[in-house]
Every structure is written in structure tokens, then in C-alpha cells.
């Protein structure tokens, strides 16, 4: 080695024809054998630039092809095997046999089984990997018009679901991998970017909905690997139980410097006609019917009321209709509220990337600007982002590099859910009717009272203009690393990560807003959060093949991680101006605080691989984590996995089966974990607040559990992978995930000071099957057509609660109980409408002495008890995606459908929209009300309209709908202009494309099937949008 080092310092230019050959200077002058040749693609007969050519087993001897597919390599001898490989093609081994010219023709690698994939702490070939993981390549997400890559994952990998929290750009999607494994410890996966566990989650503290992953431009991603079973994920130990999303950013390639510019414009609108409302005429008719029903049934309480009689029933009905649905008044402006509060939003996206390098140094540099209007008027999401990845081979032994991501996002949202009129979607959906004015004669907002029962609800236009909900995020991710080849086969790699996330959230109400007035003369708060994460990890890797057949690999390493957060908050009231908003221009302090907190972890990790003749593969991993979140005695936890696979196709007895291209089985078992989300739970703390004037009080209001430890996820996976007829690939996984020591807020006797405390007591199980089938329907030089289907079935069950028979109501309509799903619905049981009377019916469902339920029909919600709605859960019976891509010469089309069926969604919006004339008389009316009962004999599930009825709008199974849907999630059509044209202009490639997201959906629902969250609950949040975009990409 020292000898080589000296040689390396000698100048040696004579043999070099191509600049890129500098790569192997170290050994070239001492080489005894020179090989040149050309690499071409078997499907197109075009040369393959940037293909790598390596001497097998001696990775020091490596080169890449130039623009014309030519390579030249100096080898220590004329013996051995040369391997040529390129992404998307099968690598090809050729024995050298002392030849000096070797050409390679690479065949497209549709099997992808030997593709390199990024996994925990390394890269492996897919064929030798015995864990369960899905890879999503850049081309699947590059054109999808979404702000963050998460939204592009729907349908693209088995076992992955997304729940919507809002249709506003930048909001946080709930990703679930193989179901829900935790009750009180979070169910979000771990995100690892280029080896660094990154800050993730919903960071919003200003009601904007802010996903931490917003910072990353999807175009900067090379690939995403989703680690699903213990074998794949348990090297991430105590954070791996919900799966791991590994993100690899783009790296430079040596050769000609490439410039790529992309510009895109898109248009967004609601993806679905959500909750259609009755028309103006229908509104009036439905009101009239309600008051006619009422005055017919209760004349003494209506038109014949002795205190307030009317000349006739008709006069009474007219008066009531006019009262609750007043005719439009001259001089006032009326609008279509949905058009007034929402718009077709324009999104723009511009990207420039430059990549290139030589054999010593490679780089990738990109910058992007993404500007999104939201569908809600006045709301937006903007992002400046950049990535810089650099890799430098300092010596033959040392390679180093750094990845840097920088981004600045600026976002304005609004409140979601039931927060009165500050959620424009809810306002437009539920309370605004055609006959409430928007403007006064002079064009100013009409700010009268819409609904006298709720006199604080004023103009939603004004409310929309006068709420402050913005969030700005600056993020810097710096990841330097160094890798040493100590001796052949032994490598050390050290990675350091700094993840700095700075959030500036602003929330408040201007003085014109009713809430601003309630607080004073305007209310304004500013929150700063700094999420600083430092990660350092070092691994030592050894790989060696003995006697040609036995390959061993071993890895040991350690990792330290520190998450240090700083938060401050200042709230003031009484604004100086309604236009210039700052704390300086706001008067009295309402509240302020700052604090820091910290969570640290120390880990030791190791893995061991053995394979024999590429037939048998065995892997074991072990990680030991120590976390600051647990008491010293319970702080250290062990996480491990064992896995194996058998590549049957490589057995000699399989060699003659020509139709079978691949066959292998794999199995794994292991334990990963989840930490409590609460950082300080093991010792008691006093909280502090002011008490009286100039004094304060200390109090303990959180239990401390010294026994708290990891939630442990025991996961088993068995899988089969095959490829037949060189066209059809199939992989099938069966898994059982058992969560033990489930962290749950277990009930305790109040005498301890608390009613619940976090405790490792419960158990939960997810069982499932994943299927992934891909077919190459046509593959020839001009046309390729592939199609794929993936399908997942997951069954969730809570298998142990803290006490026998314990039930915990969750989010008002779910129930946690042993033997039931985490997403089991619990509510009143709707019994439809009495065909004779039109009255709403519920089952009483009070418990009889013998334990059965009283199934008597009652006509009021308050007489009916909630019960477990057997068989109705938010869990689908199946979900997945259907993908297809088609290429004809320069034109390609890609479609991704996602689907889900067998689950129920709970439509919370119904309690306002389907009042059956009962209570919120001033509100909008759903089109569904047209199906109401009208006369004896009518069979319907919508009761008669009757004011004062204890109507069906209380939470009940009436609000549960079958959620089945299939949706064209993503669609891209792209066309590469003919090379003949572009080359004349000196341009490598020009690609024009059109893309769509949420293009259309088929469903029985009358609202967006993906409006609901990951549990199936839909809570009046802004619905998902459809975006159609057009772009051009120019490569130089």
C-alpha cells in the first residue's frame, strides 16, 4: 500500500487519452494489462455513457464510459472478470482472458432484482436483500405536481397509505406503513435523508399545517426506499417500528457537465364536487316543507299560538321561511360563496440543476423556486430550495463528500376543522346560503349577523382577510462524510449531520375580526422554533469473498444524536395599524415564554451477512439504543433482526426451466421499537405559572413513570419473488407485526393524582399481505409498455388494554377495546326512517341485564346509546395502486391509480348539512336532503323535515359511508423533441410534458374520498385539490 502511494505521486500523463481515466491513476502506471471497449444498450443499440466498468471483487479498478460509451481501464493482470453496469440495465460479467478489447451489450433490467438499492446504513443489490422494502425512483415522482414528495407516494408502493389533513399546499400528510402500530407514541415513519435521520412531522403552530418535509424539492430526490419489516428497518432501532423512509438525493456523475432547466406552470382546483348543496329554489322549498310539516303537526305552537296567532297556516309558513331564509334585499351584493372564497390556484415551478465532475470530484447543484397559490383565496406556499452534493476522491484510500440542502419556505394557511368561520371551507360548506349578502351597496363587506344564535359569526370574507396564519421555515441540512478504504474489503465511513430547522409562525386576528375584538383591539402572536439536530455516525465495513463461493460481510458502528429545540412565543393585543403588523406595532403583552428542550440518543449497531454461491443469504442485525427520554435503568434497549433468503433460481436443478427467470423466497423476524413522544416523562417536574400579582405557583400536573420503556414491535415477514417469461414479475409478502409493551395512556386510580398515565401495558397486532405484480406487455426498440398492480390487506387489532374490558373513546367516534381495530367506530346506531311517519330512528342500545343490547327503536338521539358498530372500521379491506407506463419512440405516458375499498369514512360535516330541518335553521342544506321522507310509504334514509325534531344529525352510524374509491392519482405525458432538431440547436434534449394530480375519482361518496384522515375521519378540512401542470425541461 505504501508502495502504491509513492507510485501514485509520480506524474504519469503519457498513457492518458481521456480525462476521465484519471480515476485510477494510482494503479495505472503499475498496471500490466490495458482493456478498452464500448458499452452499448441492447434495446436501443445506442452507446451508454456513464456506465461503470469494474474488475469484479477489486473495486479499486473501476472506470466509467464517456459520452460515446467508450471506456479504457488498466488492470493488474489479464485475469479476472470485468463487470459493466448501468442503472436500469442488467450488469454483465465478461471474463477478460487476456483480451485487450471487450465490448459490452447491456440488456434492459426489467426484473430490477439486481438493482442496487439504498437500505439502512448501506447499499445492496436487490437480489441479495432479505428484508422487505419498496423503492420508488425519481422518474415516478419527478413530474407529479405536488409540493412535497410524500403526496406522490400514494399508490406507488404496497403497504403505504396517506391520510389527508388539508388540501392547502404544504400541509402535513399522515403516512402509515403497514397500518397503525402505536396508540400514544406516534405512528409516523422515520425519515432518513442521505443517512441522516431528519426532523419530520407536522410542525405547524400557527394553524397552517406545515410538514417538515416541505423543504425538499422532489426533483432533488434520486430514490426513496421504504423499509417495512424488521430486517430492513431494525438497524434504526428505537425509531423504526413505523417503518423508515430513506431519501437519497441526486449525486453528480463524472463526464460532461450537464445543465438541466425545468419550468412548469399548473392550475389547481378542488378535485371533487364536495358536498353538493341544494339550489336556491330547493333551499326555499325545503324550508317551506319543514315549516308546513311543523305547523300541521303543532298548530298550537305555530300559527294558532294564542300568544302570537297568524291569520292562516300559509301566512305562518311564509313568515317562517322569510325569517330563516330571507329574500334577497335590493342594494346588497350576493355571491356564490364557494367561488368567492376559493379560486383556481396557479402554481409555478422553476428548477435548474448542474451536475458533472471528473474521476476525482463529482458534484450536483440545483436550485428551485416553487410558488403555489392555494385554492383558498389569499393563501399560498412558496419555496426556494437548493441542493449541493459534492464528492471528492482525495486519495486512493480516502473519499469524502458533503451534501447540503437549503430551503426557505413561506406559507399562509388558515384554521381547519370546526373553528367557526375562520375555516373558509367550513363556512362555505355549512352556514353560508345563497341569501346571505356579501357586500353592502358601497362594495364594503356586509358584516351583519348571519345566524342570531351565533352572533359572533360574521362575514367570512372579512374573517378570511383578517386572520393571520403564516409560517416561514428556513432549513439547512449539512451532511459531510468521509470514507476510507483501509485494506481491501475493509472500509470505514464517518458521517456527520447538521439539521437546522428554523420556524417563524405568526398567528392572530386583526382588529376588524370578531376574535380580534374579543381579545382587545386585535391579537397577534409570534412563535419561533429552532429544531437543531446533530447526528454523528461511524461504521466499519468488511466484505470478503472466500474460495469464490462464500461471501462474508460485517459492519459495526456507533451513532450519537442530539435534538435540541428552542421555542419562544410572544402574544400581544391592541394593534397600532391594521396594515403594518409587527409586535412593535402591537400594544399590550398577553403572554410570552421561551424554553429549550433536548432529546439525545446513543447507539451501537452491527450487522453480519453471509451468502453462498448467490443462492443462500443470511443477515443478522443488532442495534443497542440509549435514550434520554427514559430513566437510566430502562434507557438501553436491544433491537435486532435475523433474515434469510434462498434464490432458488440459482440452484443447478433450476437451470433448465427457461420460462422461469427468477425465483426466490425470503423470511425475516426481528424487533424494532418506538420511543415515547414525551421527552420528559420519567421524573416528576414542577410547572410554573403566575399567580396573583407579582407572584407565581409551582404545580405537578403530569405523572412521572420511571418504569417507562420502549414500545417493541415484533415483526415477521415471509415473501416470495419471481419472474416468469421474462415479462411478469411478482412479489408477495406476508407479515405479522406485534406491538408489545404498547405505550398507552392507561387508566389509574385518581388517588395517585392522575386518571391516566403513560405505561407500557397494551398490545396491538397488524397482519397483512402485500402483492406487487409488474408486467412488461410490450418491449421493443420503439414501444415499451409496462403495467403493475399492487394490493395490500392489513388487519389491525388491539390485543390487550390496561384492564380487562377497558374501553377508551378516541376522537369521539372511535373506541379502543381489546379484540377490535384501532379504527373501530363507536357511535349511535342509526335505524333509518320510519316509512309511515318519516321520523328518524335509532336503536336504543342500552345494555340489558343479561349483557345484550336493547334493540328497541327510539326517535331521539339522546335516548340512544353509543355502541361498537360491529364491522365498521376505518380500515380498508384492500388498498394499493395500479400503474402503467407506455413509451412510443419519444412519447411516454405514465398513469398511477390508487384505490381503497371496504372501509368506512365518518363524515363529520353532516351534522351541519343534514339537519333535517331540525335545529340550525339558518344554515346551508345538503343536496342529500332532497332524498328526504315526504309521505307515508317513502323508503329513504333521510328523515322528514321537522323543526325542533331531535333529528338525526347527532353523531351516529348515519354519518358513516362506505369509502370505496379508485382515483387517477398521477398522470404524466411527456415528449422528447427529436434529437435531430435539438442537436442543431446544440441542446442535448428537450422534453415537454403535461402532468396531473388527483385527475379524477370514482366513488359512491358525495365528497372527496381522500378528504378523511388516516383513520377515516373527515373533519371539515379543506378538501384535496386537482392540479394540472405543463412543463418543459431542457438539458444542455
Amino acid at each position: 500500500m505504501i508502495f502504491n502511494l509513492i507510485i501514485r505521486l509520480k506524474p504519469m500523463r503519457k498513457k492518458i487519452k481521456l480525462f476521465i481515466l484519471l480515476l485510477l491513476v494510482g494503479s495505472s502506471s503499475y498496471a500490466q494489462h490495458q482493456v478498452t471497449g464500448k458499452v452499448t444498450a441492447g434495446d436501443t443499440n445506442e452507446p451508454v455513457p456513464y456506465a461503470s466498468v469494474v474488475l469484479k471483487g477489486e473495486t479499486r479498478y473501476t472506470t466509467t464510459t464517456d459520452d460515446n460509451g467508450n471506456y479504457s481501464i488498466s488492470l493488474p493482470s489479464g485475469e479476472g472478470i470485468l463487470v459493466a453496469s448501468f442503472v436500469g440495465y442488467q450488469s454483465l460479467d465478461v471474463a477478460i482472458n487476456n483480451r485487450s478489447i471487450i465490448d459490452f451489450t447491456l440488456e434492459p433490467d426489467a426484473t430490477t432484482l439486481d438493482e442496487a438499492m439504498v437500505v439502512a446504513y448501506g447499499v445492496v443489490s436487490k437480489g441479495s436483500y432479505s428484508g422487505s422494502a419498496s423503492v420508488i425512483k425519481a422518474d415516478k415522482i419527478q413530474d407529479v405536481p405536488v409540493v412535497s414528495f410524500e403526496q406522490a407516494l400514494s399508490g406507488s408502493a404496497p403497504g403505504v397509505t396517506l391520510g389527508s389533513t388539508s388540501g392547502l399546499p404544504g400541509s402535513f400528510p399522515e403516512i402509515r406503513i403497514r397500518g397503525v402500530g402505536s396508540m400514544n407514541a406516534g405512528n409516523d415513519p422515520l425519515y432518513v435523508i442521505d443517512g441522516i435521520p431528519a426532523t419530520s412531522g407536522d410542525l405547524s403552530t400557527a394553524n397552517t399545517g406545515t410538514s417538515a418535509m416541505n423543504f425538499l424539492n422532489p426533483s432533488d430526490i434520486e430514490s426513496i426506499t421504504i423499509l417495512k419489516d424488521a430486517a430492513a428497518a431494525s438497524l434504526y432501532g428505537s425509531r423504526a417500528a413505523n417503518g423508515v423512509v430513506l431519501i437519497t438525493t441526486k449525486k453528480g456523475r463524472s463526464g460532461k457537465t450537464q445543465f438541466r432547466f425545468k419550468a412548469e406552470i399548473g392550475f389547481s382546483d378542488f378535485a371533487f364536487n364536495n358536498h353538493p348543496l341544494a339550489t336556491d329554489a330547493e333551499h326555499e322549498m325545503l324550508h317551506r316543507e319543514a315549516w308546513t310539516n311543523f305547523s300541521t303537526e303543532y298548530p298550537a305552537d305555530s300559527w294558532q299560538d294564542p300568544d302570537d296567532p297568524y291569520p292562516s297556516q300559509e301566512a305562518y309558513v311564509n313568515a317562517m321561511v322569510e325569517k330563516y331564509y330571507p329574500s334577497k334585499k335590493a342594494g346588497l351584493g350576493y355571491v356564490d360563496w364557494r367561488k368567492k372564497l376559493f379560486q383556481t390556484a396557479v402554481t409555478q415551478n422553476y428548477e435548474l440543476s448542474i451536475s458533472g465532475g471528473n474521476e476525482k470530484t463529482r458534484f450536483f447543484l440545483s436550485g428551485g423556486y416553487n410558488k403555489n397559490e392555494a385554492v383558498t383565496v389569499g393563501r399560498y406556499f412558496d419555496r426556494f430550495s437548493g441542493t449541493f452534493n459534492l464528492e471528492h476522491k482525495a486519495t486512493k484510500y480516502i473519499t469524502m463528500g458533503a451534501g447540503v440542502q437549503f430551503s426557505n419556505t413561506d406559507q399562509a394557511g388558515h384554521q381547519e376543522g370546526t373553528v367557526a368561520y375562520d375555516n373558509p371551507w367550513w363556512a362555505a360548506l355549512s352556514f353560508l346560503t345563497y341569501r346571505w349578502p356579501a357586500y353592502n351597496a358601497d362594495g364594503t363587506y356586509w358584516t351583519g349577523v348571519y345566524d342570531p344564535n351565533n352572533s359572533s359569526y360574521r362575514s367570512p370574507l372579512l374573517n378570511n382577510d383578517t386572520q393571520i396564519t403564516t409560517s416561514a421555515q428556513t432549513r439547512v441540512l449539512i451532511k459531510p462524510w468521509v470514507e476510507m478504504n483501509i485494506i481491501d474489503g475493509l472500509k470505514a465511513k464517518s458521517t456527520f449531520g447538521y439539521d437546522g430547522l428554523y420556524l417563524r409562525d405568526r398567528f392572530g386576528w386583526l382588529p376588524e375580526h370578531a376574535n380580534g375584538q374579543a381579545y382587545g383591539d386585535g391579537f397577534y402572536t409570534v412563535k419561533h422554533h429552532e429544531y437543531l439536530k446533530l447526528v454523528s455516525s461511524t461504521t466499519l465495513n468488511y466484505n470478503k469473498t472466500f474460495a469464490n463461493d462464500h461471501t462474508f460481510g460485517a459492519m459495526v458502528g456507533w451513532e450519537a444524536e442530539k435534538q435540541h429545540n428552542y421555542h419562544d412565543y410572544l402574544g400581544k393585543v391592541d394593534m397600532a395599524s391594521i396594515k403594518y403588523i409587527s409586535l412593535t406595532l402591537t400594544g399590550n403583552v398577553l403572554d410570552l415564554y421561551d424554553y429549550e428542550d433536548e432529546s439525545t440518543m446513543l447507539s451501537f449497531l452491527s450487522s453480519l451477512n453471509y451468502s453462498y454461491k448467490s443462492k443462500y443469504f443470511l443477515t443478522a442485525t443488532y442495534r443497542r439504543d440509549g435514550s434520554s427520554r427514559l430513566a437510566p435503568d430502562h434507557r438501553w434497549g436491544d433491537f435486532w433482526s435475523v433474515s434469510g433468503s434462498w434464490r432458488i433460481i440459482n440452484e443447478s436443478f433450476m437451470q433448465n426451466i427457461s420460462w422461469l427467470n427468477d425465483l426466490r423466497v425470503r423470511a425475516s423476524y426481528g424487533v424494532s421499537g418506538t420511543l415515547p413522544t414525551n421527552w420528559y416523562y420519567y421524573k416528576p417536574y414542577y410547572r410554573f405559572e403566575t399567580y396573583g400579582q407579582g407572584d407565581g405557583g409551582l404545580y405537578i400536573n403530569e405523572p412521572a413513570n420511571e418504569e417507562l420503556t420502549w414500545e417493541k414491535n415484533h415483526s415477521m415477514n415471509i415473501a416470495l419473488e419471481t419472474r416468469v417469461l421474462d415479462r411478469v414479475s411478482l412479489s408477495a409478502d406476508f407479515y405479522i407485526k406485534k406491538t408489545k409493551d404498547l405505550l398507552m395512556n392507561a387508566t389509574t386510580a385518581s388517588i395517585s393524582g392522575y386518571s391516566t398515565y403513560l405505561r407500557n401495558v397494551g398490545e396491538m397486532q397488524n397482519k397483512g399481505v402485500e402483492l406487487d405484480i409488474n408486467v412488461d406487455i410490450i418491449k421493443n426498440k420503439d414501444i415499451t409498455w409496462t403495467a403493475g398492480v399492487n394490493w395490500t390487506y392489513n388487519k389491525n387489532e388491539i390485543t390487550k388494554m390496561s384492564f380487562e374490558g377497558e374501553q377508551i373513546i378516541s376522537s369521539s367516534v372511535f373506541l379502543f377495546k381489546e379484540g377490535y381495530s384501532y379504527n373501530q367506530y363507536y357511535s349511535r346506531e342509526y335505524a333509518g326512517v320510519d316509512p309511515q311517519t318519516g321520523k328518524v330512528q335509532f336503536y336504543k342500545n342500552s345494555k340489558n341485564a343479561d349483557g345484550t343490547y336493547d334493540k328497541t327503536i327510539v326517535n331521539s338521539a339522546s335516548s340512544a346509546s353509543s355502541i361498537i358498530l360491529e364491522g365498521k372500521t376505518g380500515d380498508p379491506k384492500g388498498y394499493g395502486g395500479i400503474t402503467t407506463s407506455f413509451r412510443y419512440k419519444n412519447l411516454s405516458v405514465g398513469l398511477v391509480f390508487n384505490y381503497m375499498y371496504g372501509h368506512y369514512v365518518f363524515d363529520q360535516a353532516q351534522d351541519q348539512l343534514q339537519q333535517d330541518g331540525g335545529y340550525y335553521y339558518y344554515r346551508a342544506i345538503s343536496k342529500e336532503q332532497l332524498r328526504r321522507w315526504q309521505k307515508p310509504g317513502d323508503i329513504t334514509d333521510v328523515p322528514r323535515r321537522m323543526p325542533g325534531d331531535e333529528a338525526g344529525y347527532y353523531n351516529s352510524s348515519r354519518m358513516l359511508q362506505k369509502g370505496d374509491f379508485i382515483r387517477l392519482k398521477n398522470m404524466t405525458i411527456s415528449y422528447n423533441l427529436p434529437k435531430a432538431w435539438t442537436n442543431k440547436a446544440g441542446i442535448d434534449n428537450v422534453r415537454v410534458y403535461a402532468a396531473g394530480n388527483n385527475v379524477f375519482a370514482l366513488t359512491g361518496l358525495y365528497f372527496d374520498p381522500e378528504l378523511s384522515n388516516a383513520r377515516g375521519f373527515s373533519n371539515r378540512q379543506t378538501p384535496p385539490t386537482r392540479t394540472i401542470s405543463f412543463g418543459i425541461e431542457v438539458s444542455l
Binding site: M484, W679, D695, I700
Partner: protein, 495 residues
């Protein structure tokens, strides 16, 4: 090359060693104090303040005690037909879920805080007399608060003492720090009263210094503890002792309080630390009654203004009729009338209780009133009538002091139980006393005037001692969750 490698390896190794320092994994946040860092009397005093802090919130005295004390009785009712207040008004309590069911847990959380402080108390040094007085004051307060919370449990969840002389199920006695998951059976009502009285008697010995006899309107002092003891004896029906303690307060020359005068009366409700205030829970703008800036609190609900919950609870006609018997009563100053607004046609003119404008004219700054000297007068008056040797003169003296304060033009009357109770109704409206007054005496709650109770007449007439049929709901149930976690604690009969 090798040198590089060695250097790098050395660097990495040192990083490992650095990283594995044991304290790398020990972290504390900066927004709370570890309980093992409590070291001074000053710290103890902050913890005592913490008791009151927790009690003022929206899950205890900020709202539920007031709603449970008023809307279950006959002087207050909800103005709308839905919501949690209506639930309470209709006695709609179940073992799974009801409004304000969390008060059981809350009271025990405060009790746990008192017991936890007791474990720290011995270890804190006190050297000077001043320090000894302050340290004793801490212990006196913690006993008082512990008694106070147990007393709330027994009056909410247990039958009144006089119903069966305390034989029925009482509180789970929180006399020490209990571990998470530990279980304990309920004592009887009598045992609970004995425990409460024991704590208060103990408290008075620790509060006997001059330091503890200073007025401290945000904390229990000697007078507050003694007043509470008088109240507990009154509920227990031990009128001799009730009278003794109330009378001692009123006749003690060191007593720093006096009644608000007729002229001060109305304005005093918009002030802090009025002359007669013995204990009010301190609310500041920095720490409101609840997370919603006060708008979920009792005071918002009673106050009339824009907003969904505002003005949701109003006094009944029955109560207004009582007050209207004397048009010159100063307490008419606490009533406001609202006339219809042409824009808001469904509103009919109605009268509402404007007793709690908040100090600084901000309804969000209402200090929940726990005890004031007027109550001591009325306890003394009632107990004087009922004690084993009735003292009509004292009864007359104390009752008339309150009556004539309300209207100096009145003439003295001879005190009777009914007159004292009516005076309590007029005086304590909105302060959460009425239901407990009726319950402790077993008096029928007559709400036949009220047409806001649709559907059922079950709770139009409530006899808190005769709990036949569905009337077991006169006391609150132990939640199902608690029954699972603490099967030793029996459920109240009927639930």
C-alpha cells in the same frame, strides 16, 4: 496514507468516547423544575400557590363547581336547549361521560400536590422565627387545601351527611402520596368529614402565628381555614361547632376583614381584594381561567355579550321574584336587562346576572370567589338558630347585618331558617352555593316553574335525600374508567 488513517481513526475513537459520556443522555428542559430541586421555603411557598392555581382553572373552580352548584338547583338555568349546561341542569349523568366529570380527577390531582409537598416539607431548613412562621404557614395551607378538596369530593360525589349521619359511601381518602396504579377503597361520609375536620384542626395550629393572620386574599390564612371549618361543620349539621368557629371569627378583634358597605357593594364585584374577601382564586391576564382566554369559563357563560356561550346561563324567574320583593335591595345593581335588538329578532328581552364584570372591567379577569365574610355571618346566623342552645339574639344580629347592608332602610327581623336561606340565595347567586345548601338540609328542589326542561318531568322536583327511581343522580357517579382502575372504590347506588 497510513498516517491519515490512524489520525482519522483516533479522531473517530475520541468522538465515540466523547459521545458515550454518561451525562450525554441526561437532559432537562428549561420550562419546568425537577421536583428534586425544591430547596428553600420560597420554593415551598410557590408550590402552595400552585394549589390555588390549579383550583382556579376551567376544570375546577373556573367553571364546574359553579355550574354544578347553581344549575342543578332552582335559581339558575341554561338559556339554550343544548350543551353541557343543559346536561347538568337535567341531571344527565352517566358513568361513561358527562360534562365536568373530570372534577374528581382534578381534586385528587390537587390533593396529590399537597401530599407531595408534605414529603418535601421536613427537609427544608428554617432557622429564624420568620422562616419558621413561613414554613408553618405552608404546612397549614397544605392541610387546609387538602381538606378543601376532600370536602368538594364529599359534597359532589357523596350523599349529604345529615341524610344518614354519614353512613353512606364517602371519598377515597388521600392522606399520602399514592403510586401510579395503586388502589384504595372509599371511606364513609362520616370518616371523610372526620378527616377533613382533622386536617383543618391541624391546619389551625400551624396557622396560629401573626404571620398567618395577615389578610392574604389569594391564599388560605388562619381566618380562611377557620371559616372553612365553620362551613364544614355547618354541612355536617354540627351547629355548635359551626357557630363556635364562625362567631369566633366575627368577634375576634384581630380579624382584619369587614363587610363591604352598601355603597361599596356593587363596585366591589369589579375589584380584587375587597374588604370582606377572605379567599378568591387569583386570575391574571397572564394566566387566565382557561386556554381559550376565559371564554369557556363560568364567568363568560354568565356574562352576556357576543359569542356562542356568552349569556348561556341566567337566573330563574323564581330568583328574580325573590329579589324583586325589595325593589331597593342594593343587589338589583348586579342585574342588567337586555332589550331586543332589531337585528337579532330571536332574542327576547331578558335579565341577566352582571355580578362578575371582572376587575379592570374585563370579564376574563374574574377571580373565583371562594369565601367572604358575608358567608361567615350567615353561617353564624344559621348555626345560632340550630345549635343545641339556640342563640336567637346572635342569629338576628348576624342576619340583619347582611339584610341591612343590602338595604339600610329595612328594619330588623327575627331570624328564621327560611330567612337565612333566602338571604343566602340573594347573596350567593352565581357563587355556586345553592345546590349544596338544599342538599345538605334535604330540602326539595322545586323547578316546576321551568319550561326549559322538555320531555321529562323527572327532575322538576328533586328531593336530594329521597333518592327513589332515577333520582339517584342527585350525586355524581364514579366514572367507569375509575371503577376499572380502582375496583376497590364502590359505585354510588343506582349507577
Amino acid at each position: 496514507m497510513k498516517k491519515y488513517s490512524i489520525k482519522l481513526l483516533a479522531l473517530l475513537t475520541s468522538a465515540i468516547l466523547l459521545g458515550s459520556c454518561s451525562d450525554f443522555l441526561d437532559t432537562d428542559p428549561t420550562n419546568r423544575v425537577p421536583s428534586n430541586e425544591i430547596q428553600t421555603i420560597r420554593d415551598l411557598e410557590k408550590i402552595v400557590n400552585g394549589f390555588y392555581l390549579q383550583m382556579k382553572w376551567n376544570d375546577y373552580y373556573g367553571t364546574p363547581i359553579m355550574v354544578l352548584g347553581e344549575t342543578r338547583a332552582d335559581d339558575f338555568k341554561p338559556r339554550r336547549s343544548t350543551g353541557g349546561f343543559q346536561q347538568i341542569h337535567r341531571y344527565d349523568f352517566t358513568t361513561t361521560n358527562y360534562s365536568y366529570g373530570g372534577i374528581w380527577d382534578k381534586a385528587y390531582n390537587v390533593i396529590m400536590n399537597t401530599n407531595f409537598l408534605l414529603t418535601l416539607w421536613d427537609g427544608i431548613p428554617a432557622n429564624t422565627q420568620d422562616e419558621i412562621d413561613r414554613k408553618n404557614n405552608v404546612k397549614g395551607q397544605l392541610y387546609t387545601v387538602r381538606a378543601f378538596c376532600h370536602f368538594d369530593i364529599v359534597r359532589l360525589y357523596c350523599y349529604p351527611y345529615l341524610k344518614d349521619n354519614g353512613a353512606s359511601l364517602g371519598a377515597v381518602i388521600g392522606d399520602k402520596v399514592f403510586g401510579l396504579g395503586e388502589q384504595k377503597a372509599r371511606a364513609t361520609v362520616k370518616e371523610t368529614y372526620d378527616f377533613v375536620i382533622g386536617d383543618l384542626t391541624e391546619a389551625l395550629t400551624y396557622l396560629s402565628s401573626d404571620y398567618s393572620k395577615e389578610p392574604s386574599p389569594g391564599n388560605f390564612n388562619y381566618w380562611g381555614a377557620k371559616g372553612l371549618l365553620a362551613r364544614v361543620y355547618l354541612y355536617k349539621g354540627d351547629y355548635d361547632n359551626a357557630f363556635k368557629h364562625a362567631d369566633e371569627i366575627l368577634t375576634d378583634p384581630d380579624n382584619p376583614y369587614r363587610l363591604n358597605t352598601n355603597l361599596e357593594y356593587v363596585a366591589a364585584w369589579g375589584q380584587q381584594d375587597a374588604p370582606e374577601t377572605m379567599l378568591e382564586l387569583k386570575v391574571t391576564i397572564m394566566s387566565n381561567l382557561d386556554d381559550n382566554g376565559g371564554v369557556d369559563s363560568w364567568y363568560y357563560v354568565v356574562w352576556h355579550g357576543p359569542g356562542f356561550a356568552a349569556g348561556n346561563l341566567v337566573p330563574t324567574k323564581k330568583w328574580f321574584d325573590l329579589l324583586d320583593q325589595d325593589p331597593d335591595d342594593v343587589r338589583h345593581g348586579l342585574i342588567e336587562t337586555r332589550y331586543p335588538d332589531p337585528e337579532e329578532t330571536p332574542f327576547t328581552p331578558f335579565k341577566w346576572l352582571a355580578k362578575f364584570p371582572g376587575y379592570d372591567k374585563d370579564f376574563k379577569k374574574n377571580n373565583p370567589m371562594i369565601m367572604r365574610l358575608t358567608e361567615i355571618y350567615l353561617i353564624a346566623a344559621e348555626a345560632a338558630l340550630k345549635k343545641s342552645t339556640p342563640d336567637q339574639a346572635k342569629a338576628n344580629q348576624y342576619l340583619n347585618a347582611i339584610r341591612l347592608r343590602a338595604n339600610p332602610a329595612l328594619t330588623n327581623v327575627t331570624a328564621t331558617e327560611d330567612l337565612v336561606l333566602d338571604e343566602r340565595r340573594k347573596e350567593f347567586i352565581g357563587e355556586g352555593h345553592r345546590y349544596f345548601d338544599l342538599a345538605r338540609l334535604g330540602k326539595t328542589i322545586d323547578r316546576t316553574y321551568d319550561n326549559s326542561l322538555p320531555g321529562t318531568n323527572a327532575y322538576k322536583i328533586v328531593d336530594p335525600w329521597n333518592v327513589s327511581g332515577t333520582q339517584h343522580k342527585v350525586i355524581l357517579p364514579i366514572s367507569n374508567a375509575q371503577r376499572l382502575a380502582n375496583p376497590l372504590a364502590d359505585q354510588n347506588p343506582g349507577y
